[in-house]
Symmetry: C3
Subunit: 122 residues, 3 copies
């Protein structure tokens, strides 16, 4: 779980659009985007909750298709969805005081991730 | 779980944009937005399902950070996400006959909530 | 779980907008939209995970309201949300190599579904 608020805000700051929405989207089927109060406790609580919903060590049918081990990653990503939309005004994200935008990478191996930030407004 | 369809529709009706999307977003990390058939049964079923996913009485790591008791609220909000996007046409939300837009406040204390409704289109 | 990537891409291809976002939305309270690697294994794994979150045979309060049997469908749909937003560039959806857009119909009876694809950009 990685805080990407700075990167999203930077993309908005560098653009010419004052008010609108930023779509933050992961091209890939084993990661998601959401918001969280980014502090050490929840960095453990959120993965623990996901482990309960889709445990890593289960025998997923997906493993039989490819001989891989990341069925849990796919299930978690589909449940949480590949992206979210964030409103901004005066080129500033409208977030709560303790709310950060995070990339949740569910894959079982370390990966480089590309994150799409598409900005629309005027 | 609070029906906010009327407030979202009102914002669209008062604006000048005929066709587009309304981003409904909660600045805060313990509430979400979704749709539901807003009737008394589901007003009990949905919280019960959330209680199974992230029980209130669990010892969350988040509680150790702040000495608070709303770890479950944060986990639920991150899982469901802070906002949703709703299409509209001729200044009317495109919803199913039994589909309402709801604010799901997961916090353990009663709070006032600000809801952002950002409208884009033409 | 039905692959609707082709239909969404077709709508983008036929329009005049080169870069923007496509909001894919279900008017109805018993279905959702997300992405998945659309292969036979996950077509079993995803419904199995949803069955654990909101089992079909549970006695939902919703059933008492209407004498129906689709409480699980409503709970699943509210949890996953009624729609998602997808960025595109040069009239092509930006998706991962093994990522498809899917309609998840949770209802207990076979239904015809209308899917809204609202395109915004320039």
């Amino acid at each position: 779980m990685l805080d990407i608020t700075g990167e999203v805000q930077e993309k908005i700051s560098k653009g010419n659009i004052k008010e609108g929405i930023a779509t933050v989207f992961i091209p890939g089927s084993t990661a998601s985007v959401s918001t969280v109060e980014y502090e050490p406790g929840l960095k453990k609580d959120i993965p623990e909750a996901m482990e309960k919903i889709a445990p890593k060590n289960k025998d997923y049918e997906h493993h039989k298709t490819w001989g891989c081990d990341n069925g849990s990653s796919h299930v978690r990503a589909t449940l949480m969805g590949p992206g979210k939309v964030f409103p901004f005004k005066d080129k500033a994200l409208i977030l709560g005081q303790w709310q950060q935008i995070v990339l949740l990478d569910f894959d079982t191996k370390t990966r480089e991730r590309e994150v799409i930030v598409q900005i629309i407004g005027e």
